[in-house]
């Protein structure tokens, strides 16, 4: 008997004996032996189903609401994308709602631009200011001088924005998203004929080969693929899926890999074609798949003549034996699948490299089969949001835009080298619909604050992470905290103020009515049945989750598709002057910066570096030693575009010729928690690379490092070099 048990029994016997005289049972005694649990008062709470818009993955959420306040966000178990799971960013949405620095009412600029001096005004004043400017445009027959800037829109919201612009008479709608998977849609269209995003059956695969696809932190649908990854590893009785990661920087995703191939930046496409050649040479390819897609082995081998193992090994900087081994494993461990991600796509030769990897899947017979890749993973989407930005910037620069209506934070999330920020400064009237005084709102003349996600109606269509037409519904879970108005309702109210043609084109009393109409049209095109119970049910379950259809669209390699031929990667900056490659990547807590205002995410230690409340530059320890840089030193990173001072993190999982900086920090605004913290690496990037068509080439800039001082003021939650105790723990 343990000492504790003995004492408990002893105490009870004694007390029982004492009480035995007056009370037969000892029930009354027990509450004193079980102490009250730490002040817990279990209460009843209500859960509302909604959808997350913290990133384009569009997971379903359940919000726990008690006493009229949102308390906790959980994943919606019914939602097919995230199945009850949720990432750190999704849970922090509650801090968007209750952020202490939210814009509480409309503001009008009262000092010079960018100084953050604003005067509070009423909504009537704000709306008439905006409508006044727009009416002036109409009067001067300059309706096309209104520009709308938003993230990519979908469903009812896209319809509303398009309707507004059409009725007003402006074609200027910029939809920019730094990490948008446009490149993947383009590659899919060129290879298979439809601009869709693929769906990867990671859970059932036996060999996962990721070319820079960081599906745990940012790629396409992190929660969906994170869940699938867990199943791939340990859900099947006898199979443990193998994972190989290709990329110059070991990302959070790469950290879970069994094998890491640190290929030279820009050589990933060559590696994919080298693997393809090894497969075909040894006849490990899937002959039936090749025939079905109308491809000939001999002809492909002719295209691949230059990709012999020695050349590939030399160009990628990888051992030839490792490449040969991966080829053999990829071909023989079926079903296998290859993913391609941002680390590859944002190189100057990204588009061709992505296609090479799609071809690799075809060769191994991985298309349209369990454990493989389904090219038709979601509906078609935009492809050219980046290149479409340039004409808009040019127009702004030439004075062709008089009013800019902005939702989102493009001033922080567009690389300044594109000239966007400079051009925007020349726009006479900027309206921002922000929830916080972010970098864009600071530049604005008028701020008409938007609702937080948890106060809004809306539609969230997941960009990937499923094969069926999933539509998540956002519903308000609390009464609005501030005197704000949802962005779509602002458009409707503006249309009413404008009157005439514009008001007639937008006859909806509120966005909610439009949303209902669009949903009704989608679910019940005939319009016969009673919609009220259908709508109530949609709200209860958090959206419309149709079961997987039987018919999977048949995707075939286009007969006119050119054979992928990635050129040698080009970089901005001469190698002698700028010896290191730069990779920028979405910090797992901040994505492209929209997580940075929330204190939970700021104090969440970065998984790989354990840094808190900061941004940093990752350097291979050997490179750092050569430059005399120590952990935590302040370092100046210089590119042809600019310079940035950041603390150094010695990072064993990165190539010696590569440095990496996380995205998201370096905001001038964004509330007390984000403001003035870290640096924004987008300021270092070149907008385009010489000799390459405009495309997002965020990894095609070279930099050099100089040590500034020992005062990097870096704070890490863990030991900087990792704890030595791992050996003791046996993990």
């Amino acid at each position: 008997m343990k000492r504790r048990t003995f004492l408990q029994l002893g105490g009870m016997t004694a007390a029982g004996a004492l009480l035995a005289g007056c009370q037969a049972e000892n029930e009354k005694l027990i509450p004193f032996l079980i102490p009250p649990d730490e002040g817990v008062t279990p209460g009843r709470a209500v859960y509302y189903a909604s959808a997350c818009r913290a990133c384009p993955a569009g997971c379903g959420i359940l919000v726990r609401v008690a006493e009229g306040r949102a308390k906790k966000i959980e994943g919606n178990p019914l939602h097919p994308v995230n199945r009850g799971k949720l990432c750190a960013r999704g849970q922090a949405l509650v801090q968007e709602l209750y952020h202490p620095d939210r814009i509480r009412q409309p503001l009008k600029r009262s000092g010079p631009r960018g100084t953050g001096t604003f005067t509070p005004i009423t909504w009537d004043e704000g709306l008439s200011l905006l409508a006044g400017r727009l009416k002036a445009l109409q009067r001067d027959r300059e309706s096309d001088r209104l520009a709308l800037l938003t993230p990519p829109l979908q469903g009812a919201m896209a319809e509303l924005a398009a309707g507004f612009l059409r009725a007003f008479g402006s074609p200027q709608h910029g939809t920019f998203e730094l990490l948008a998977p446009d490149w993947l849609r383009t590659a899919q269209r060129q290879c298979f004929g439809a601009a869709t995003l693929p769906w990867y059956d990671v859970a059932e695969t036996r060999y996962l080969l990721s070319f820079g696809a960081d599906f745990v932190e940012a790629h396409l649908s992190p929660v969906h693929y994170g869940h699938a990854f867990g199943r791939m590893r340990q859900h099947r009785d006898t199979v443990r899926g193998h994972f190989t990661y290709v990329g110059g920087r070991m990302s959070l995703t790469g950290a879970s890999a069994d094998r890491w191939l640190p290929a030279r930046p820009g050589s990933e496409g060559t590696l994919a074609l080298g693997l393809a050649r090894l497969l075909l040479d040894a006849e490990w390819h899937d002959a039936a798949a090749l025939a079905a897609h109308g491809l000939q082995r001999d002809e492909m081998l002719r295209h691949l003549a230059g990709y012999d193992l020695d050349r590939v090994a030399e160009e990628t900087g990888l051992p030839a034996a490792a490449i040969a081994e991966v080829a053999r494993e990829f071909a023989s461990t079926r079903p296998s699948l290859a993913m391609v991600g941002e680390a590859v796509a944002f190189q100057s030769n990204g588009p061709e490299a992505v296609r090479a990897i799609l071809l690799l899947n075809l060769l191994a017979g991985n298309l349209d089969r369990p454990g493989g890749v389904y090219p038709a993973g979601g509906g078609p989407g935009p492809e050219q949001t980046f290149s479409e930005l340039f004409p808009l910037i040019a127009k702004m620069r030439d004075g062709g835009i008089k009013v800019a209506l902005i939702q989102g934070n493009p001033v922080h999330a567009i690389p300044p080298a594109t000239g966007f920020q400079a051009a925007l400064a020349g726009v006479p009237f900027i309206v921002s619909c922000a929830t916080l005084l972010d970098d864009t709102a600071l530049e604005a003349d008028l701020i008409l604050p938007d609702h937080a996600a948890l106060e809004s109606w809306g539609e969230v269509i997941p960009q990937a992470g499923g094969r069926a037409g999933v539509v998540g519904l956002m519903q308000p879970v609390v009464t609005p905290v501030c005197d704000s108005r949802p962005f779509p309702d602002l458009l409707l109210a503006t249309a009413q103020e404008l009157g005439g043609k514009v008001a007639a084109a937008m006859p909806y009393p509120s966005y909610l009515e439009l949303l209902k109409a669009v949903t009704r049209r989608r679910l019940d095109p005939a319009g016969g049945s009673d919609f009220a119970p259908v709508w109530a049910n949609l709200l209860r379950q958090g959206g419309d989750f149709p079961p997987l259809g039987d018919s999977v669209p048949d995707y075939r390699w286009r007969s006119d598709a050119a054979f992928p031929a990635p050129a040698r990667a080009r970089f901005a900056g001469a190698e002698q002057e700028f010896p290191l490659h730069l990779q920028v990547y979405p910090a797992s807590a901040f994505y492209d910066g929209r997580g940075a205002p929330f204190p939970w995410l700021q104090q969440l230690p970065d998984p790989m570096t354990t840094v808190v409340w900061d941004s940093w530059v990752e350097i291979n320890p050997a490179t750092a030693a050569g430059l005399g840089i120590g952990h935590g030193d302040l370092v100046e990173v210089t590119s042809p575009q600019g310079a940035l001072r950041l603390p150094a993190v010695l990072y064993p999982g990165i190539r010696p010729d590569l440095v990496a900086i996380p995205l998201g920090q370096g905001q001038r605004g964004g509330g007390r928690y984000a403001q003035g913290r870290g640096g924004n690496p987008l300021t270092l990037l070149a907008a385009t690379v010489a000799g390459v068509a405009p495309q997002p080439a965020w990894h095609a800039t070279r930099v050099r490092l100089t040590r500034v001082s020992a005062q990097g003021e870096l704070v890490t939650a863990g030991h900087p070099q990792g704890s030595y105790r791992s050996d003791l723990l046996g993990i």
Binding site: G75, H227, A255, W613, I731
Partner: protein, 237 residues
């Protein structure tokens, strides 16, 4: 005697082969349990507040380098080093096998934190604040701890109590999977599994019998309620 024996022995299994180190559990725990916000200076002093942390280990040098993640939370030891040292019985063992902490008994000696080999107890060195309206997000189920009080993971005891009350009302035991702490609920890869180890058929008990099983600092004889499953493979890295 029957009153002293609980049908529950709550425990957790953490599968390191599934864990990707993403940090979703860390934020879920902060959100559920009103864990304080800490600024850079406080964390720099080693006075950050977290009930669950993810340890990161680098092993080897480039290019043969690998990373291991290890989520560490209160191990809810059955022979807990933190319990006997508390002079005021703020740290106690409850019949379900949980290692409890009674905040209003705690006088802040920090003996328990000192004696914990897993370093999972965190002390409120500061009076932490939630600038309004951020305080509206605080859960009404849990007290907000003031300065001078020790706190730690409770396996989300408020959720366990809620489930037990519901089950008792229906005259049954808590079903497997009915109650989950916030960390296990949100874990995208399902690396964390929580349940009743006293029920041999529960998912957690079945996983805890895995040959990959180990416990943290097993040699200390603390008999933790948390089992880890070794990550497999990764031999080529």
């Amino acid at each position: 005697m029957g009153k002293l024996t609980s049908p529950y022995r709550w425990g957790m299994v953490i599968d390191l082969d599934r864990c990707t180190g993403c940090g979703a559990c860390v934020v879920a725990c902060q959100a559920e349990n009103n864990v304080a916000l800490c600024d850079k200076q406080q964390i720099g002093e080693g006075r950050g507040m977290h009930w669950l942390r993810i340890e990161r280990f680098w092993v080897g040098t480039y290019p043969d380098v690998r990373v291991r993640f290890l989520p560490v939370l209160c191990q809810h030891c059955h022979d807990a080093p933190c319990e006997p040292v508390c002079p005021v019985y703020a740290s106690y063992h409850n019949p379900d096998g949980l290692n409890g902490q009674v905040y209003n008994r705690c006088v802040g000696t920090r003996y328990c934190g000192n004696n914990c080999p897993y370093a999972v107890r965190v002390f409120n060195f500061y009076q932490h604040e939630w600038p309004p309206p951020l305080a509206d997000q605080l859960s009404p189920d849990i007290t907000v701890r003031s300065r001078g009080v020790m706190e730690k993971c409770s396996f989300c005891i408020q959720r366990i109590r809620r489930a037990k009350e519901e089950a008792t009302g229906e005259g049954r035991l808590v079903r497997d999977g009915e109650v989950q702490p916030a960390c296990a609920q949100t874990c995208p890869a399902e690396a964390l599994v929580f349940g009743n180890l006293a029920d041999p058929h529960s998912r957690v008990a079945r996983l805890a019998r895995s040959p990959r099983r180990f416990q943290l600092l097993e040699q200390l004889g603390t008999h933790p309620s948390v089992y880890y499953l070794k990550g497999g493979g990764r031999e080529h890295v």
